[in-house]
Each structure stands twice: as structure tokens, then as C-alpha cells.
């Protein structure tokens, strides 16, 4: 309250003071405001947070990645463990570490299968929603999008109960209908069980991006199509899909990046199956190094390599899209 009282007169005085100023002074203020303070005011909050929570942590991670712990003898007692400059040796280790490489291979395989499946689902759902014959459009739009609103960890927990033999109604139902005992958590099946969770979570989100693209197509194109006697199928394949191609490339490339960073689903399912190793995905590997093996330096190197890989993909995508738009 006391603070309020002090501030009120000052706040009230400000407009009055501005009104009393001469025209030239006002002009000056506006000019100074435009060139000096306004950008700072607008960018300030972003800039501070950007530095604090983006540049600093990344800088620190890069710094840590060039260090390593050097032990001598038994490693017991004072001075037997020192942190030394490691040069690029952590990075050399990342690229020759079979755990890391097999994790990368696994997520790439995952992406090659899961992303097309998810995007085809997303396209079909978006086209269905966009076609005029569908009723309860708003309901379905929300229903398809809903899984995305559930945090990834919660979704993985929910699905883990649907996968766990002895508890899962799905496993029980498959067994009762003569499919035998299906193991969703087996050494070969668990990757696709994770893919199922990811698809369930993100199909609606990707659908919404594509749907937004479809909504933005001018109606006269459809009128022209109808006048030419195009069927709904032809309209979808000849008008709609080409015009949302940009959205499709977008959803695809970001799905690839998301796949590279796969973490929470395998981490949660790891609690109920031993077929997900501690280095199952690159992110999980980094996490294990940092928080189980107390090796933050190596974990930082893994994280930096992953980040660089992600940036290369992002900028590669940007160039690809820009070329497309420039060509169009």
C-alpha cells in the first residue's frame, strides 16, 4: 500500500509534464524515444532472460565440455582428483562412443518410421476437418488436439499402464481374443511402443498446423475447382495439398528435431522395462552421464554435439524453405 501511495503522484504527473512541453521538445523526445529507449524497453526483458537462461547456460555447458576430471592412484584423499583442461578430447570421445552412436542410429530409425506415419495421420485428419461435410468440426478439432495438452511425462505414464503386462486391459483383451501374449515392452517392440506414444501426443498438434494452412486457402480457388468439375478427392490432391506443402515441410523437419531429442518417453518407460538402456537415446545418454555417473563434462560435450546437430538441421531447413518460397 505504501508503495502505491508513493507512486501514484509520480505517475499522474508524467502525462501533465509531457503535455506542457513545447512542440520541438516533444519532437525531440519522440525522436530520442524511437532511436534510444523504446527498443531497449521492448527488448530488455527478452534480452535479460535470453542472456540469463540461454547464452549463459550454453556458454557454461561449452566451457564445461572442455574440462575433465583427472584422478591419480586410488583417487582417495585430498588432491588425488583434479579438474584439468581436456581440449577436444571429450568431443573425440563422443564421436567414437558406440553408446552415443547407437543412440543416434536408434532415433534416426525411429524418425524414418514414426514421422511419416504421424504426418500422414495429421494430413488425413486435417483434410477431413477441412472438408465441409464433417459435422461437429469444433468438437473434433479440440478432441484431436487434446493429447498435446497433456504433458509428455504424464502421457508416458498413462501409456506405461496400458503396456504393463498383468495390468494392461489391452494386453488382456488381445490375449482373450486369441492374439496370444503381446509384449509391448520387448527388446524389439519397445521402440515402436514409444513411437505410438509420440504419435498419439503430436498428431493433433501437427494436424492443427496443417489445418491452419488449409483454412488460409482462398475460397475462390475451390469455387474455380468446382466449376471445373473437380471431385473432393481431386480438390484435396490438386489444390489443398500443394498449397499446404510449406506447412508439411515445417512439421516434418521439426518432428525430426524433436525425435533427435527424444527423452521423457523412454525415461518413463525405463522404470517398467529393462529393454531401454541408459544410452537408449542421445539425450538419455547425456542425462545418465550427468546425473547418474557424475560426469558433467562429458554430458556437456554430448549436449553440445546434439545442439549443433539440431542447429544444422534447423538452418538447413530454413534454407530449404526459403529457396522454395523464392522459387514460388
Amino acid at each position: 500500500m505504501a508503495v502505491d501511495h508513493q507512486q501514484t503522484p509520480a505517475a499522474a504527473a508524467a502525462p501533465g509534464e509531457a503535455a506542457a512541453g513545447s512542440a520541438s521538445r516533444r519532437h525531440l523526445r519522440r525522436r530520442r524515444g524511437r532511436s534510444g529507449w523504446a527498443p531497449v524497453m521492448f527488448l530488455g526483458p527478452f534480452g535479460v532472460l535470453f542472456v540469463l537462461f540461454f547464452l549463459l547456460p550454453i556458454g557454461y555447458a561449452i566451457y564445461e565440455s572442455f574440462l575433465k576430471v583427472r584422478v591419480s592412484g586410488l583417487g582417495l584423499g585430498p588432491n588425488s582428483t583434479v579438474t584439468v583442461f581436456a581440449g577436444l578430447s571429450n568431443y573425440a570421445r563422443v564421436f567414437s562412443d558406440s553408446s552415443f552412436l547407437s543412440g543416434v542410429g536408434r532415433v534416426l530409425l525411429f524418425g524414418v518410421v514414426q514421422i511419416p506415419v504421424m504426418l500422414i495421420f495429421a494430413i488425413v485428419l486435417a483434410l477431413l476437418l477441412d472438408s465441409i461435410t464433417v459435422r461437429f468440426k469444433r468438437f473434433f478439432r479440440l478432441a484431436f488436439f487434446l493429447p498435446y495438452g497433456i504433458p509428455g511425462v504424464i502421457a508416458a505414464l498413462l501409456w506405461s499402464f496400458l503396456y504393463l503386462p498383468g495390468l494392461s486391459p489391452i494386453v488382456a483383451a488381445l490375449h482373450d481374443t486369441g492374439f496370444g501374449t503381446v509384449n509391448f515392452l520387448g527388446v524389439n517392440s519397445v521402440l515402436w511402443s514409444i513411437a505410438n506414444i509420440v504419435t498419439w501426443e503430436y498428431t493433433g498438434y501437427n494436424m492443427l498446423i496443417i489445418y491452419a494452412g488449409l483454412q488460409a486457402i482462398p475460397a475462390d480457388l475451390y469455387d474455380a475447382g468446382r466449376l471445373d468439375g473437380a471431385s473432393e478427392w481431386k480438390m484435396a490432391t490438386r489444390i489443398k495439398l500443394p498449397l499446404v506443402a510449406g506447412s508439411l515441410v515445417l512439421t516434418a523437419i521439426f518432428s525430426i528435431i524433436g525425435t533427435l531429442q527424444l527423452f521423457s518417453e523412454p525415461q518413463v518407460l525405463r522404470e517398467i522395462t529393462s529393454n531401454i538402456s541408459s544410452s537408449y537415446t542421445p539425450n538419455l545418454f547425456s542425462y545418465t552421464q550427468a546425473f547418474a555417473d557424475n560426469n558433467p563434462n562429458y554430458a556437456a560435450a554430448i549436449a553440445v554435439v546434439l545442439a549443433i546437430g539440431t542447429f544444422i538441421l534447423s538452418f538447413g531447413f530454413l534454407r530449404l524453405v526459403q529457396r522454395r518460397w523464392a522459387g514460388a
Partner: protein, 444 residues
């Protein structure tokens, strides 16, 4: 219109990905600079200590101390369990030089903290004088080349929990040797294909290490200035090939322990036994409540004529190097684990089985338990605790070793390797990891 929607969604989507990267980077950075720290002495000469622990209800013992020791105040910081993040936080705090005065650390993790130079040698504060208060094997765990790095708090001597009702129903006798355990396994599974003698926890190297410990394994020892690593020594190989046979012949169920599915198997009679530590008592009471009165506890089956035992779990109280009042902190650590009133609190509130010999005689840890049909199960564990091999030692990078073994168990239970191969690979991986960090190490 269309392109503006595209670019907005691009930015939003991109931000989300960036946020994920930021969060990961921030997590790494924050972990490295998390706060803690010991408080400086108050002006009156009163000393304040900080204590990180995750034992439920340990505040009762801390309050008791604060009432009886007005000059040394202990601030309890209740944390999550060590593996759930507190160890990572402790390592970071030690690196940053602001670790608390006192902390909770499990036996297996002690050498790891000794190795990062984080612990105060308590022998200079009279810790050696209370050696005879504790179960013998625990003292071997907290000492290293003459230094005492921790005060034992609780232990996990092992025993065989078994379904007395089902043993009777299936006409089985309680196994006293592992050979009898195997014949029981064959007998019951042949007659009842959906019933197993027990489950092999495919995710749990710590359980396995308790069994190897019983068989006389020596995973780590020191010879002069060199670690001797013997994860695939003959005793461990014996245990591994025994369980591999049970797995290959489908005589045990492959489960992930402490999960809903495993609790169900323990409740519905799928599993007849659980070889585990004393604290498993509470696991069954809580998660297999419907089996009240059906379970009993027998001593662990043995490998030969000489009975021996292993230990699974248990922890200690340590003083961190950053403490400004190590003498007072040591005094508290000793009191916490030897004062009988304090121990009563640890038993009744925390569900701990004390490492203190007098504590084991307290009624709370030495009375019949209704859930176990009125059996005084504690006597089995008291006797079992005295049989625990005193030479077993943990290594300096145990969390890495456990991770490597756990990854290996996954391949063994899915059929692409065997438990004996897993021991060999864990042995070589652990030695590699140690060499990479500069340890002097050789296979033993």
C-alpha cells in the same frame, strides 16, 4: 495471410524446441551451481549445522537432538532419495564449495564421495571409539586406509521371504541351500506353469550384488595405490550361472522390481519367494496387503555348508568437507546413530533396521509382526546380519558400474547374452571407465 500463419507457427514451434534446449542446458548449469551451504556460527557461540537426509520422519530424532543440545542446532533439509537427485546435488555442491555440514549416503556410494574428496575423516573426532557399537561388517564399509568416513545408520541383511501357505499347498519344503531352491523351482513350475519360485529383477544390479556378496564376491579391493576389480570373480560367476540357468529354463519370471506388475505377482501367488533385505518387510506390507498372514521369513539359502549372508542397502551419516564445524557435526552424526531414543525414531518413523547392535534389541526391531503370522522376523535378520561377509567393498565409480550392469541385464533377460557374459563386460567396462579417469586399476 497464408504465409503469416506459416511464419507464426514456425516461430512458435521453433521456440518450443529452443526452450527444450535451454531447459536441458539450464538443468546442467543449475545442477552445477545449486545452493546449500553451512551457516556460520551465531554470535552467541551457538553453532548451526545443515543436514540433508531423505529418511522419512528423521525430523523426530533431529528435534530430540536440538532440544538436548541447545548450543548445536541442526537444520534438517528433507531431500529426495540419493539416486533420485540428491547425490547429483551433493556432487555439485561439493564442486561449488557449499555442501551442507551433514548428509545421508548409502554404503555403495560412499567410495564415490571419498574419491571426490568430499568427506571428513571422523577418526580425528573419536569415531573409532564407537566401532564396537555396530554390526561388524558395517565398519569395513565406512573405513578406508585407517580413515573413518561415515557413521553407519541402517543395514539391509538379506533373508528369504516365502509364501508359507503356498509352500504347504504345493508340498514344497523351505530351501536351506540354493540347490534346494533350484529343485523347488523345477518342481513347482512343472506342476503349475504359471507359478514361479521367484522373479529375476532384470533392472536391479543392486539386488544381484547382495547375492554375489553372500557368495563371497570381492568386487573391489585395494592393493597399495591400486584398485583391484573383480566383478567377474568365481563367486560372482557362480551366482550368475545359477540365475542364468533359472532364466534359460524359464523357472523364474522376468520382472522389473518395484513396479505395479511385480507387486501384482507378489500378491496373487505367481511368485512364491522373494530373497531380499530386511526392509522388504515393509514393501510387502504396503504393496501386497491382501497376503496378510501368508508370508514368513527364513534365512537365505546357502551355497555350501558354511552359512554366509549378503547385504542390500542401508546408509550412513557423513560430514562434508565444507563444514565449518566438523567436530560438532561429527558429534551429531555419532549421536544420531547410537543414541537409543534417536534410533527408536529411526526404526518407527523411518522403517530402518539399525546398524547399532543395541538398537537391534529394541522392541520396535525385535517383536512379532502380525503381517507375518506373528513371526518375529527380526531375529532372522539379526542372525543374518552377523553372517554378512565383512571383506566386501564397493568401488569408486559404483553408479557407473551399476548402470553398465543394468544395461547388461536387459540384454541377458531378452536372450541376447548371458549373465556370466554381463559380468565379464561390466568388469571390462568398469576398468575402462576407471582408466579413462586416471585411476590406477587392475583386474583381480
Amino acid at each position: 495471410m497464408s504465409s503469416s500463419i506459416r511464419s507464426t507457427s514456425r516461430v512458435r514451434r521453433r521456440d518450443r524446441r529452443l526452450l527444450a534446449i535451454i531447459a536441458a542446458a539450464a538443468a546442467l548449469a543449475l545442477a552445477a551451481c545449486s545452493s546449500g551451504g553451512s551457516s556460520p556460527a551465531a554470535s552467541s557461540g551457538k553453532v548451526t549445522l545443515t543436514f540433508w537426509s531423505w529418511v522419512p520422519g528423521i525430523s523426530q530424532s533431529v528435534n530430540l537432538w536440538n532440544k538436548s543440545h541447545p548450543d548445536i542446532h541442526v537444520n534438517l533439509d528433507e531431500t529426495t532419495s540419493g539416486v533420485a537427485g540428491t547425490y547429483a546435488k551433493m556432487y555439485s555442491a561439493l564442486q561449488a564449495g557449499n555442501a551442507p555440514d551433514l548428509g545421508q549416503i548409502e554404503y555403495a556410494t560412499l567410495p564415490n564421495f571419498e574419491h571426490v574428496g568430499g568427506l571428513v575423516d571422523l577418526s580425528q573426532y573419536g569415531a573409532d571409539n564407537i566401532k564396537q557399537d555396530f554390526v561388524p561388517w558395517t565398519w569395513g564399509q565406512v573405513t578406508q586406509s585407517g580413515a573413518v568416513y561415515a557413521i553407519p545408520q541402517d543395514t539391509g541383511p538379506m533373508g528369504l521371504f516365502y509364501r508359507a501357505d503356498l509352500f504347504k499347498k504345493y508340498g514344497l519344503s523351505v530351501p536351506t541351500t540354493w540347490a534346494e531352491f533350484l529343485s523347488d523351482a523345477k518342481k513347482v513350475h512343472a506342476a503349475h506353469p504359471n507359478v514361479y519360485i521367484t522373479a529375476f529383477p532384470s533392472n536391479d544390479p543392486q539386488w544381484f550384488s547382495g547375492l554375489a556378496w553372500q557368495a563371497g564376491a570381492r568386487w573391489f579391493s585395494t592393493s597399495g595405490d591400486t584398485w583391484v576389480t573383480g566383478i567377474d570373480d568365481p563367486a560372482s560367476q557362480q551366482v550368475a550361472s545359477f540365475w542364468q540357468q533359472l532364466i534359460s529354463d524359464h523357472l523364474v519370471k522376468i520382472d522389473v522390481d518395484f513396479t505395479a506388475g511385480w507387486y501384482k505377482d507378489l500378491s496373487d501367488g505367481t511368485l512364491l519367494t522373494w530373497p531380499t533385505a530386511v526392509w522388504g518387510e515393509n514393501t510387502l506390507v504396503t504393496n501386497a496387503a491382501s497376503t496378510k498372514g501368508d508370508w514368513r521369513v527364513a534365512p537365505m539359502p546357502n551355497w555350501g555348508a558354511t552359512p554366509s549372508n549378503g547385504n542390500w542397502g542401508g546408509s550412513t551419516t557423513v560430514v562434508f568437507k565444507d563444514s565449518k564445524h566438523p567436530a560438532q557435526a561429527a558429534q551429531f552424526a555419532e549421536w544420531l546413530n547410537t543414541n537409543q531414543q534417536s534410533i527408536t525414531g529411526l526404526i518407527t518413523q523411518g522403517g530402518l533396521y539399525p546398524a547399532d547392535l543395541a538398537g537391534e534389541q529394541q522392541p520396535a526391531a525385535n517383536s512379532p509382526v502380525a503381517f507375518y503370522g506373528g513371526q518375529n522376523i527380526w531375529q532372522v535378520f539379526e542372525a543374518g546380519g552377523k553372517l554378512v561377509n565383512t571383506t566386501f567393498q564397493w568401488g569408486p565409480i559404483m553408479s557407473t558400474t551399476f548402470t553398465q550392469m543394468q544395461d547388461g541385464f536387459g540384454t541377458a533377460t531378452s536372450g541376447s547374452s548371458t549373465l556370466t557374459q554381463v559380468l565379464a563386460s561390466t568388469q571390462s567396462q568398469t576398468i575402462n571407465s576407471m582408466k579413462q579417469q586416471g585411476f590406477s586399476v587392475k583386474p583381480g
